[in-house]
Protein backbone atom coordinates (compact mmCIF):
# COMPACT_ATOMS: atom_id res chain seq x y z
CA UNK A 1 0.00 0.00 0.00
CA UNK A 2 1.49 3.31 -1.06
CA UNK A 3 1.45 6.54 0.91
CA UNK A 4 -1.90 8.27 1.17
CA UNK A 5 -2.52 11.42 -0.87
CA UNK A 6 -4.98 13.87 0.70
CA UNK A 7 -6.83 16.72 -0.99
CA UNK A 8 -5.39 20.12 -0.03
CA UNK A 9 -7.41 21.64 2.80
CA UNK A 10 -7.29 24.43 5.39
CA UNK A 11 -3.97 25.39 6.95
CA UNK A 12 -4.80 23.66 10.20
CA UNK A 13 -4.97 20.24 8.56
CA UNK A 14 -1.71 18.33 9.01
CA UNK A 15 0.20 17.36 5.89
CA UNK A 16 2.37 14.28 5.73
CA UNK A 17 5.48 13.55 3.75
CA UNK A 18 7.54 10.53 2.90
CA UNK A 19 10.08 8.99 5.30
CA UNK A 20 13.69 9.50 4.37
CA UNK A 21 16.87 8.44 6.19
CA UNK A 22 18.59 11.41 7.84
CA UNK A 23 21.84 11.95 9.75
CA UNK A 24 21.36 11.05 13.36
CA UNK A 25 22.89 9.62 16.51
CA UNK A 26 19.82 7.40 16.89
CA UNK A 27 16.60 6.74 14.99
CA UNK A 28 13.20 6.22 16.56
CA UNK A 29 10.41 4.74 14.45
CA UNK A 30 6.83 4.65 15.68
CA UNK A 31 4.31 3.05 13.32
CA UNK A 32 0.97 1.35 13.30
CA UNK A 33 -0.61 -1.13 10.88
CA UNK A 34 0.25 -0.27 7.24
CA UNK A 35 2.70 2.35 8.52
CA UNK A 36 5.16 -0.55 8.54
CA UNK A 37 5.21 -0.28 4.75
CA UNK A 38 6.65 3.24 4.97
CA UNK A 39 9.56 1.95 7.08
CA UNK A 40 10.16 -0.96 4.73
CA UNK A 41 10.12 1.30 1.67
CA UNK A 42 12.48 3.80 3.30
CA UNK A 43 14.83 0.98 4.30
CA UNK A 44 15.43 0.17 0.62
CA UNK A 45 17.43 3.36 0.15
CA UNK A 46 18.79 3.72 3.71
CA UNK A 47 22.57 3.63 4.17
CA UNK A 48 24.14 0.36 5.27
CA UNK A 49 24.11 -0.09 9.07
CA UNK A 50 21.40 2.57 9.37
CA UNK A 51 19.21 0.31 11.53
CA UNK A 52 22.08 -0.44 13.95
CA UNK A 53 21.07 2.74 15.76
CA UNK A 54 17.32 2.32 15.30
CA UNK A 55 14.50 1.53 17.66
CA UNK A 56 11.20 0.47 16.08
CA UNK A 57 7.98 0.66 18.08
CA UNK A 58 5.23 -0.99 16.09
CA UNK A 59 1.54 -1.40 16.81
CA UNK A 60 0.19 -3.90 14.25
CA UNK A 61 -3.53 -3.27 14.98
CA UNK A 62 -5.62 -5.19 12.44
CA UNK A 63 -2.67 -5.98 10.18
CA UNK A 64 -1.68 -8.77 12.58
CA UNK A 65 1.58 -10.49 11.67
CA UNK A 66 1.61 -9.22 8.10
CA UNK A 67 4.67 -6.99 8.52
CA UNK A 68 6.29 -8.20 11.74
CA UNK A 69 8.89 -10.53 10.24
CA UNK A 70 9.89 -8.04 7.56
CA UNK A 71 10.34 -5.32 10.16
CA UNK A 72 12.39 -7.61 12.38
CA UNK A 73 14.56 -8.50 9.39
CA UNK A 74 15.68 -4.86 9.13
CA UNK A 75 17.93 -5.62 12.11
CA UNK A 76 16.98 -2.67 14.29
CA UNK A 77 18.89 -2.48 17.55
CA UNK A 78 15.54 -2.66 19.34
CA UNK A 79 12.20 -3.86 18.05
CA UNK A 80 8.99 -3.76 20.03
CA UNK A 81 5.52 -4.77 18.91
CA UNK A 82 2.73 -3.58 21.17
CA UNK A 83 -0.94 -4.45 21.37
CA UNK A 84 -2.14 -0.82 21.29
CA UNK A 85 -0.92 2.76 21.35
CA UNK A 86 -2.06 3.08 24.95
CA UNK A 87 0.02 0.04 25.88
CA UNK A 88 3.06 1.48 24.10
CA UNK A 89 2.92 5.09 25.22
CA UNK A 90 4.84 4.62 28.46
CA UNK A 91 7.63 3.01 26.46
CA UNK A 92 7.59 5.92 23.99
CA UNK A 93 7.77 8.41 26.87
CA UNK A 94 10.69 6.54 28.44
CA UNK A 95 12.61 6.35 25.17
CA UNK A 96 12.15 10.10 24.62
CA UNK A 97 13.12 10.93 28.21
CA UNK A 98 16.38 9.01 27.86
CA UNK A 99 17.18 10.22 24.34
CA UNK A 100 19.71 12.89 23.53
CA UNK A 101 19.73 15.48 20.76
CA UNK A 102 20.69 13.97 17.46
CA UNK A 103 17.73 11.58 17.64
CA UNK A 104 15.68 11.43 14.45
CA UNK A 105 11.99 10.64 14.75
CA UNK A 106 9.99 8.84 12.03
CA UNK A 107 6.23 8.34 12.35
CA UNK A 108 4.08 6.38 9.94
CA UNK A 109 0.61 4.94 9.72
CA UNK A 110 -2.67 6.50 10.84
CA UNK A 111 -3.24 10.10 11.80
CA UNK A 112 -4.20 9.18 15.36
CA UNK A 113 -0.93 7.33 15.94
CA UNK A 114 1.26 9.98 14.32
CA UNK A 115 -0.50 12.84 16.11
CA UNK A 116 -0.24 11.27 19.55
CA UNK A 117 3.38 10.19 19.12
CA UNK A 118 4.23 13.68 17.83
CA UNK A 119 2.64 15.17 20.94
CA UNK A 120 4.90 13.05 23.15
CA UNK A 121 7.95 14.26 21.23
CA UNK A 122 6.96 17.93 21.36
CA UNK A 123 6.23 17.58 25.08
CA UNK A 124 9.95 16.97 25.62
CA UNK A 125 10.94 19.94 23.45
CA UNK A 126 11.41 18.27 20.06
CA UNK A 127 10.30 20.66 17.28
CA UNK A 128 7.24 19.25 15.53
CA UNK A 129 8.45 20.49 12.16
CA UNK A 130 11.56 18.30 12.47
CA UNK A 131 9.54 15.11 12.88
CA UNK A 132 9.13 13.05 9.72
CA UNK A 133 5.74 11.57 8.95
CA UNK A 134 4.16 9.40 6.27
CA UNK A 135 0.50 8.50 6.16
CA UNK A 136 -0.37 4.91 5.31
CA UNK A 137 -3.49 2.86 5.71
CA UNK A 138 -6.78 3.83 7.28
CA UNK A 139 -7.96 7.42 6.96
CA UNK A 140 -9.73 7.08 10.31
CA UNK A 141 -9.41 10.15 12.49
CA UNK A 142 -9.05 10.81 16.18
CA UNK A 143 -11.83 13.31 16.95
CA UNK A 144 -12.50 15.55 19.90
CA UNK A 145 -16.09 16.57 20.59
CA UNK A 146 -16.04 20.34 21.14
CA UNK A 147 -19.11 20.02 23.40
CA UNK A 148 -18.17 17.33 25.94
CA UNK A 149 -14.41 17.29 25.12
CA UNK A 150 -14.46 13.51 24.85
CA UNK A 151 -12.20 11.90 22.27
CA UNK A 152 -13.51 9.28 19.86
CA UNK A 153 -10.83 7.15 18.22
CA UNK A 154 -10.85 5.73 14.69
CA UNK A 155 -13.73 7.75 13.28
CA UNK A 156 -14.36 6.66 9.70
CA UNK A 157 -17.62 8.40 8.82
CA UNK A 158 -18.81 12.00 8.65
CA UNK A 159 -20.97 12.74 10.59
CA UNK A 160 -20.51 10.36 13.52
CA UNK A 161 -21.87 9.98 17.03
CA UNK A 162 -19.67 11.16 19.88
CA UNK A 163 -18.73 8.06 21.88
CA UNK A 164 -19.05 10.08 25.08
CA UNK A 165 -22.10 12.36 24.85
CA UNK A 166 -23.85 10.90 21.82
CA UNK A 167 -24.22 14.14 19.85
CA UNK A 168 -24.09 13.91 16.05
CA UNK A 169 -20.76 15.46 15.09
CA UNK A 170 -19.53 16.94 11.84
CA UNK A 171 -15.88 16.02 11.06
CA UNK A 172 -13.83 19.17 10.59
CA UNK A 173 -10.29 19.53 9.17
CA UNK A 174 -9.51 21.86 12.09
CA UNK A 175 -6.73 20.09 13.99
CA UNK A 176 -5.08 20.51 17.40
CA UNK A 177 -1.48 19.36 17.91
CA UNK A 178 -1.94 19.72 21.66
CA UNK A 179 -4.91 17.35 21.67
CA UNK A 180 -3.66 15.30 18.72
CA UNK A 181 -7.24 15.35 17.44
CA UNK A 182 -9.53 16.90 14.87
CA UNK A 183 -12.53 18.94 15.93
CA UNK A 184 -16.03 17.46 15.87
CA UNK A 185 -18.94 19.92 15.98
CA UNK A 186 -22.64 19.17 16.49
CA UNK A 187 -24.20 18.90 13.04
CA UNK A 188 -27.89 19.19 14.04
CA UNK A 189 -27.85 21.82 16.77
CA UNK A 190 -30.26 24.15 14.94
CA UNK A 191 -32.63 21.42 13.85
CA UNK A 192 -32.25 18.38 16.13
CA UNK A 193 -32.62 15.12 14.28
CA UNK A 194 -31.87 16.61 10.88
CA UNK A 195 -28.61 14.70 10.38
CA UNK A 196 -27.00 14.37 6.92
CA UNK A 197 -26.29 10.87 5.64
CA UNK A 198 -23.03 9.38 6.79
CA UNK A 199 -20.27 9.29 4.21
CA UNK A 200 -16.89 7.67 4.52
CA UNK A 201 -14.05 10.07 5.34
CA UNK A 202 -11.67 10.63 2.44
Amino acid sequence: MAKTEFEPSIRSRPVYGELEAKNGKAHLFIADADGAGAILDMAKSAPKDFFDKAHIIYIPKDSGDKYTDQLKALGAKQFYAGPSYEASVTRIQRVLADASNGLQIYLSGTEGLMGQAMREATNVGYPYSAIQTEHRGSKARRMQCVHCKGVTEDVITDPFECSHCGLNLFVRDHYSRRLAAFQGVCVDAEDPGNVPDKVEIT
Binding site: S100, N101, G102, A130
Partner: protein, 321 residues
Protein backbone atom coordinates in the same frame (compact mmCIF):
# COMPACT_ATOMS: atom_id res chain seq x y z
CA UNK B 1 7.04 57.93 8.09
CA UNK B 2 10.64 56.89 8.12
CA UNK B 3 11.83 53.31 7.85
CA UNK B 4 13.33 50.99 10.42
CA UNK B 5 12.12 50.45 13.95
CA UNK B 6 10.81 53.52 15.85
CA UNK B 7 13.52 55.81 17.17
CA UNK B 8 14.32 56.74 20.77
CA UNK B 9 16.16 59.92 21.81
CA UNK B 10 18.74 58.96 24.41
CA UNK B 11 21.61 60.39 26.43
CA UNK B 12 24.86 58.51 26.87
CA UNK B 13 25.05 58.15 30.66
CA UNK B 14 28.14 55.98 30.95
CA UNK B 15 31.12 54.94 28.84
CA UNK B 16 33.36 52.23 30.28
CA UNK B 17 36.53 50.79 28.80
CA UNK B 18 36.08 47.04 29.26
CA UNK B 19 39.46 46.16 27.78
CA UNK B 20 41.77 47.44 25.06
CA UNK B 21 39.31 46.58 22.28
CA UNK B 22 35.88 46.86 23.87
CA UNK B 23 33.93 49.79 25.28
CA UNK B 24 30.57 49.67 26.98
CA UNK B 25 27.95 52.37 26.47
CA UNK B 26 24.87 53.05 28.57
CA UNK B 27 21.86 54.86 27.10
CA UNK B 28 18.96 56.42 29.01
CA UNK B 29 15.98 58.23 27.55
CA UNK B 30 16.36 61.98 27.40
CA UNK B 31 12.73 62.33 28.52
CA UNK B 32 13.51 60.28 31.63
CA UNK B 33 10.99 57.54 30.79
CA UNK B 34 11.41 53.80 30.64
CA UNK B 35 12.97 52.05 27.68
CA UNK B 36 10.73 49.70 25.65
CA UNK B 37 10.65 46.10 26.84
CA UNK B 38 12.91 43.68 25.05
CA UNK B 39 13.86 40.02 25.24
CA UNK B 40 17.31 38.46 25.50
CA UNK B 41 19.17 38.50 22.20
CA UNK B 42 17.60 41.73 20.90
CA UNK B 43 19.63 44.47 19.24
CA UNK B 44 19.27 48.20 18.75
CA UNK B 45 20.40 50.18 15.72
CA UNK B 46 22.53 53.14 16.82
CA UNK B 47 22.39 56.23 14.58
CA UNK B 48 25.67 58.08 14.27
CA UNK B 49 26.56 61.28 12.55
CA UNK B 50 30.18 60.59 11.66
CA UNK B 51 31.21 64.07 10.53
CA UNK B 52 28.47 64.22 7.93
CA UNK B 53 28.39 60.51 7.06
CA UNK B 54 25.33 58.86 8.61
CA UNK B 55 26.06 55.46 10.10
CA UNK B 56 23.45 53.04 11.41
CA UNK B 57 25.01 50.07 13.17
CA UNK B 58 23.23 47.22 14.98
CA UNK B 59 24.51 46.27 18.45
CA UNK B 60 23.15 43.56 20.73
CA UNK B 61 21.63 44.73 24.00
CA UNK B 62 23.61 43.22 26.85
CA UNK B 63 21.73 44.60 29.84
CA UNK B 64 19.06 42.64 31.65
CA UNK B 65 15.64 42.60 29.95
CA UNK B 66 14.26 43.11 33.47
CA UNK B 67 15.89 46.54 33.71
CA UNK B 68 14.08 49.14 31.64
CA UNK B 69 15.90 52.14 33.09
CA UNK B 70 18.65 51.92 30.47
CA UNK B 71 20.11 49.91 27.59
CA UNK B 72 23.75 48.96 27.46
CA UNK B 73 25.78 47.77 24.51
CA UNK B 74 29.40 46.75 24.08
CA UNK B 75 31.31 47.74 20.99
CA UNK B 76 34.46 46.08 19.78
CA UNK B 77 36.76 48.46 17.95
CA UNK B 78 37.39 47.38 14.37
CA UNK B 79 40.32 49.38 13.03
CA UNK B 80 39.78 47.98 9.52
CA UNK B 81 36.01 48.47 9.54
CA UNK B 82 33.99 51.17 7.84
CA UNK B 83 34.17 53.46 10.84
CA UNK B 84 31.06 52.86 12.96
CA UNK B 85 32.90 51.19 15.81
CA UNK B 86 35.74 53.71 15.58
CA UNK B 87 33.23 56.53 15.85
CA UNK B 88 31.69 54.91 18.94
CA UNK B 89 35.14 54.47 20.50
CA UNK B 90 36.65 57.84 19.62
CA UNK B 91 33.76 60.27 19.59
CA UNK B 92 30.94 59.04 21.81
CA UNK B 93 31.32 60.54 25.27
CA UNK B 94 29.29 60.56 28.44
CA UNK B 95 26.54 63.20 28.30
CA UNK B 96 26.12 63.09 24.50
CA UNK B 97 22.66 63.00 22.93
CA UNK B 98 22.14 60.18 20.44
CA UNK B 99 19.34 58.34 18.65
CA UNK B 100 18.86 54.60 18.85
CA UNK B 101 16.10 52.37 17.51
CA UNK B 102 13.48 50.36 19.34
CA UNK B 103 14.78 46.86 20.05
CA UNK B 104 14.43 44.16 17.42
CA UNK B 105 15.08 40.51 18.23
CA UNK B 106 16.40 38.18 15.54
CA UNK B 107 18.16 35.94 18.07
CA UNK B 108 15.57 35.15 20.68
CA UNK B 109 15.54 32.19 23.03
CA UNK B 110 13.15 29.41 22.09
CA UNK B 111 11.41 29.05 25.42
CA UNK B 112 10.05 25.64 24.49
CA UNK B 113 13.59 24.32 24.86
CA UNK B 114 14.42 22.16 27.86
CA UNK B 115 17.99 23.43 27.86
CA UNK B 116 19.83 26.28 26.16
CA UNK B 117 23.36 25.49 24.99
CA UNK B 118 25.22 28.70 24.13
CA UNK B 119 28.43 29.07 22.17
CA UNK B 120 30.10 32.48 22.02
CA UNK B 121 33.26 33.74 20.39
CA UNK B 122 34.78 37.10 21.37
CA UNK B 123 32.38 40.04 21.21
CA UNK B 124 29.68 37.52 20.23
CA UNK B 125 29.14 37.22 23.99
CA UNK B 126 26.90 40.31 24.12
CA UNK B 127 23.48 38.83 23.19
CA UNK B 128 24.10 35.97 25.62
CA UNK B 129 24.50 38.42 28.51
CA UNK B 130 20.89 39.59 28.14
CA UNK B 131 19.67 36.05 27.42
CA UNK B 132 21.38 34.74 30.56
CA UNK B 133 19.86 37.56 32.63
CA UNK B 134 16.46 36.60 31.23
CA UNK B 135 16.96 32.88 31.93
CA UNK B 136 18.24 33.65 35.43
CA UNK B 137 14.97 35.35 36.26
CA UNK B 138 12.98 32.29 35.25
CA UNK B 139 15.28 29.58 36.55
CA UNK B 140 16.19 28.61 32.99
CA UNK B 141 18.59 25.79 32.23
CA UNK B 142 21.61 27.01 30.26
CA UNK B 143 25.25 26.26 29.66
CA UNK B 144 27.66 28.75 28.07
CA UNK B 145 30.86 27.91 26.22
CA UNK B 146 32.82 31.08 25.55
CA UNK B 147 36.01 31.25 23.49
CA UNK B 148 38.24 34.32 23.92
CA UNK B 149 41.68 35.21 22.63
CA UNK B 150 43.39 36.00 25.94
CA UNK B 151 42.43 36.62 29.55
CA UNK B 152 42.76 40.38 29.13
CA UNK B 153 40.53 40.37 26.01
CA UNK B 154 37.89 38.15 27.58
CA UNK B 155 35.05 40.64 27.97
CA UNK B 156 32.82 39.88 30.98
CA UNK B 157 34.57 36.59 31.75
CA UNK B 158 35.00 37.52 35.42
CA UNK B 159 31.38 38.55 35.92
CA UNK B 160 30.05 35.45 34.17
CA UNK B 161 32.26 32.97 35.98
CA UNK B 162 31.58 34.61 39.36
CA UNK B 163 27.81 34.55 38.88
CA UNK B 164 27.51 31.20 37.16
CA UNK B 165 30.52 29.09 38.14
CA UNK B 166 28.86 25.84 37.09
CA UNK B 167 27.29 26.96 33.84
CA UNK B 168 30.03 29.04 32.23
CA UNK B 169 33.05 27.52 30.53
CA UNK B 170 35.79 29.78 29.15
CA UNK B 171 38.37 28.77 26.56
CA UNK B 172 41.56 30.81 26.00
CA UNK B 173 43.04 30.73 22.51
CA UNK B 174 46.49 31.72 23.78
CA UNK B 175 46.51 28.67 26.03
CA UNK B 176 45.52 26.54 23.02
CA UNK B 177 42.18 25.74 24.61
CA UNK B 178 39.33 24.93 22.25
CA UNK B 179 35.67 23.97 22.56
CA UNK B 180 35.35 20.20 22.17
CA UNK B 181 32.24 20.63 20.06
CA UNK B 182 31.77 17.06 18.95
CA UNK B 183 31.63 15.81 22.53
CA UNK B 184 29.62 18.78 23.64
CA UNK B 185 26.89 18.09 21.09
CA UNK B 186 26.85 14.41 22.00
CA UNK B 187 24.57 13.54 24.91
CA UNK B 188 22.64 16.79 25.28
CA UNK B 189 19.08 16.05 26.39
CA UNK B 190 16.38 15.92 23.75
CA UNK B 191 14.86 19.38 23.40
CA UNK B 192 18.17 21.22 23.82
CA UNK B 193 18.47 24.32 21.64
CA UNK B 194 21.84 25.52 20.42
CA UNK B 195 22.74 29.21 20.05
CA UNK B 196 25.92 30.54 18.47
CA UNK B 197 27.21 34.07 18.06
CA UNK B 198 30.76 34.92 17.07
CA UNK B 199 33.04 35.07 14.05
CA UNK B 200 31.73 33.64 10.77
CA UNK B 201 34.10 30.66 10.93
CA UNK B 202 32.77 29.69 14.34
CA UNK B 203 29.13 30.00 13.26
CA UNK B 204 29.73 27.86 10.18
CA UNK B 205 31.61 25.25 12.23
CA UNK B 206 28.90 24.99 14.87
CA UNK B 207 26.04 24.85 12.36
CA UNK B 208 27.79 22.21 10.27
CA UNK B 209 28.69 20.08 13.30
CA UNK B 210 25.13 20.25 14.63
CA UNK B 211 23.74 19.26 11.25
CA UNK B 212 26.12 16.30 11.02
CA UNK B 213 25.15 15.21 14.52
CA UNK B 214 21.49 15.17 13.47
CA UNK B 215 20.31 18.23 15.41
CA UNK B 216 17.06 19.49 13.90
CA UNK B 217 17.55 22.76 12.00
CA UNK B 218 14.85 24.33 14.20
CA UNK B 219 17.02 23.86 17.32
CA UNK B 220 20.06 25.71 15.95
CA UNK B 221 20.05 29.51 16.26
CA UNK B 222 22.77 31.87 15.14
CA UNK B 223 23.34 35.56 14.78
CA UNK B 224 25.90 37.18 12.62
CA UNK B 225 25.64 40.84 11.72
CA UNK B 226 27.43 41.41 8.48
CA UNK B 227 29.05 44.72 7.86
CA UNK B 228 28.50 45.82 4.26
CA UNK B 229 31.53 44.81 2.20
CA UNK B 230 33.20 47.56 0.24
CA UNK B 231 33.42 47.06 -3.52
CA UNK B 232 33.56 48.78 -6.87
CA UNK B 233 31.30 51.82 -7.18
CA UNK B 234 28.17 51.20 -9.28
CA UNK B 235 25.14 52.98 -10.62
CA UNK B 236 21.54 52.07 -9.88
CA UNK B 237 18.26 53.30 -11.28
CA UNK B 238 15.43 53.50 -8.77
CA UNK B 239 12.33 53.02 -10.92
CA UNK B 240 9.60 54.06 -8.48
CA UNK B 241 11.29 57.27 -7.34
CA UNK B 242 12.73 57.83 -10.82
CA UNK B 243 16.28 58.54 -9.67
CA UNK B 244 19.68 57.38 -10.78
CA UNK B 245 22.07 57.00 -7.86
CA UNK B 246 25.76 56.19 -7.42
CA UNK B 247 26.86 53.69 -4.79
CA UNK B 248 30.31 54.57 -3.48
CA UNK B 249 33.15 52.18 -2.77
CA UNK B 250 32.56 51.96 0.99
CA UNK B 251 28.88 52.80 0.92
CA UNK B 252 26.17 50.14 1.00
CA UNK B 253 23.41 50.14 -1.60
CA UNK B 254 20.90 50.82 1.18
CA UNK B 255 22.93 53.81 2.38
CA UNK B 256 23.11 55.18 -1.15
CA UNK B 257 19.34 54.85 -1.54
CA UNK B 258 18.85 56.67 1.76
CA UNK B 259 21.38 59.35 0.82
CA UNK B 260 19.30 60.05 -2.29
CA UNK B 261 16.35 60.86 -0.05
CA UNK B 262 14.43 57.68 -0.85
CA UNK B 263 12.82 56.01 2.13
CA UNK B 264 13.66 52.30 2.01
CA UNK B 265 12.58 49.71 4.59
CA UNK B 266 15.21 48.16 6.88
CA UNK B 267 15.64 46.71 10.32
CA UNK B 268 18.92 44.93 11.03
CA UNK B 269 21.15 46.38 8.30
CA UNK B 270 23.20 43.20 8.53
CA UNK B 271 21.70 40.80 6.00
CA UNK B 272 19.73 38.83 8.57
CA UNK B 273 16.18 40.10 8.99
CA UNK B 274 14.85 40.27 5.43
CA UNK B 275 13.19 43.65 5.82
CA UNK B 276 15.06 45.48 3.04
CA UNK B 277 14.38 42.80 0.38
CA UNK B 278 14.05 44.64 -2.94
CA UNK B 279 12.73 43.52 -6.32
CA UNK B 280 15.05 43.76 -9.29
CA UNK B 281 13.33 45.06 -12.42
CA UNK B 282 16.23 44.68 -14.79
CA UNK B 283 19.99 44.18 -14.79
CA UNK B 284 23.01 43.63 -16.96
CA UNK B 285 25.91 42.43 -14.87
CA UNK B 286 26.45 40.31 -11.81
CA UNK B 287 25.17 40.42 -8.25
CA UNK B 288 27.40 40.10 -5.23
CA UNK B 289 24.98 38.67 -2.69
CA UNK B 290 26.27 38.77 0.91
CA UNK B 291 23.07 38.24 2.93
CA UNK B 292 21.81 35.29 5.00
CA UNK B 293 18.21 35.96 4.02
CA UNK B 294 17.58 34.92 0.43
CA UNK B 295 17.64 31.29 -0.61
CA UNK B 296 20.44 30.12 -2.87
CA UNK B 297 17.97 29.86 -5.76
CA UNK B 298 17.02 33.51 -5.20
CA UNK B 299 20.70 34.47 -5.22
CA UNK B 300 20.93 32.90 -8.65
CA UNK B 301 17.75 34.07 -10.35
CA UNK B 302 18.45 37.82 -10.33
CA UNK B 303 15.01 38.86 -9.10
CA UNK B 304 15.83 40.09 -5.60
CA UNK B 305 18.60 41.85 -3.72
CA UNK B 306 19.19 42.75 -0.06
CA UNK B 307 20.60 46.29 -0.36
CA UNK B 308 21.92 46.43 3.22
CA UNK B 309 24.89 44.15 2.45
CA UNK B 310 24.78 43.11 -1.20
CA UNK B 311 26.33 44.83 -4.21
CA UNK B 312 26.35 44.74 -7.98
CA UNK B 313 28.98 44.86 -10.69
CA UNK B 314 28.01 45.59 -14.26
CA UNK B 315 26.34 48.00 -16.63
CA UNK B 316 22.81 48.55 -15.36
CA UNK B 317 20.70 47.70 -12.37
CA UNK B 318 17.08 48.82 -12.04
CA UNK B 319 15.32 48.37 -8.71
CA UNK B 320 11.64 48.56 -7.77
CA UNK B 321 12.17 51.31 -5.22
Amino acid sequence: MSSGAAKIAVKVTDVVEVNELVKRFKFERTDGGLMPTFSGGAHTVVSMDDHGTPRLNPYSLMSSPLDRSAYTISVRRDDEGRGGSLFMHNHVKKGMDMTISNPVNLFSLDLRARKHLMIAGGIGITPFLSQIAQLDSMNGNFELHYAVRTKSLGSYVDELTAQHPNDVNVYYDDKKEAIDLENLLDGQPLGTHLYVCGPKGMIDWVRKSAQEAGWPRETVHYEEFLAPEPGKPFEVKLAVSNKVIQVGETQSLLEAIEAAGVDAPYLCRGGACGMCETEVIGYDGKFIHNDHWLEESEHNNGKKIMPCVSRFEGKTLVLDR
